[in-house]
Amino acid sequence: MFTDINKNLIDGENMGGISQTIYFALHEDVETWPAKPDNPQTLDELGVLTGSIEMKAGKKMHKLYITDDTGELNFEPVGEQDGKSFVIHLSLFHPGLNPNVLGLLNKVKNDNMVFIVPDNNGAYFLMGDATRPATFVSGAEGVGTGKETAGRRGVGMEFVYKTSNLYQYEGDIPLTEAS
């Protein structure tokens, strides 16, 4: 399975941060999840999910705008010896205190979510699987009006997702209702 791992930055690209648009849905609205690697033969196969997320009838994923340079995915290794896994942290800031984002915060604070997060290099990461959702943990970057007139008014959020392994998501994102 092991192979040499070179620098391998295609066209020299390796921009940090995440896309200004991420995608979200309720965990309970997912019908089918992409599959984890089954008997992977290469390291590449071990690092990618197979298939696309599919929603229940009448459900779809939705977009969330993020202020540039405020979104981050952080993959945190956790656990004791022989018990290692990962916690994926998604932190973001959405500008403004419009009713729709306040309503979103009201809904997600105690609910189970799924996110698809594109980074700035075309890689997608799925937060959520058949057994574990992404959950809200805090208002990262602050939630409110800001203190100064030159400050930033809006909603910061942080979500976490616990996973045994890290994978890229190479499937589709359904922005139209499933039938």
Partner: protein, 118 residues
């Protein structure tokens, strides 16, 4: 060329899906290039299935033989249809689900250029 003659949309209502291969695709648009749809299908898009017409035109699969009704007199059991009795070496029906990665080197794909008359 209307791709909807070659593919049925399944599992979603016609609308936008962000595909990894070709970015956002609006499946309510009948004018999506057929080559793009074939590419999606051959890369296991969960939303596309071939129509019989599409299977014939794209992959050159011959149409299935038509079943002629067998006349039966009252009181007699229906004889088994040939299709109900599996025979070794039967050609699979075109309506069976396609295998993953259905790109076939043999037979070659039928010409589906814009000038191909359908």
């Amino acid at each position: 060329m209307n791709w909807q003659k070659y593919f049925n949309l399944k599992k979603i209502k016609p609308g936008i899906v962000i595909t990894r291969l070709h970015g956002p695709i609006d499946f309510s648009n009948p004018n999506i290039p057929l080559e793009k749809m074939i590419d999606l299908f051959e890369n296991d898009s969960p939303y596309l299935e071939l129509t019989p017409y599409g299977e014939q035109q794209i992959y050159g699969t011959p149409p299935p033989p038509t079943d002629k009704p067998i006349p039966v007199e009252e009181g007699h059991d229906l004889p088994p249809k040939e299709a109900d009795t599996p025979q070794k070496g039967d050609t699979p029906s075109i309506n069976k689900p396609k295998k993953k990665n259905p790109v076939r080197a043999n037979p070659p794909r039928a010409d589906i250029s814009p000038h191909h008359k359908t």
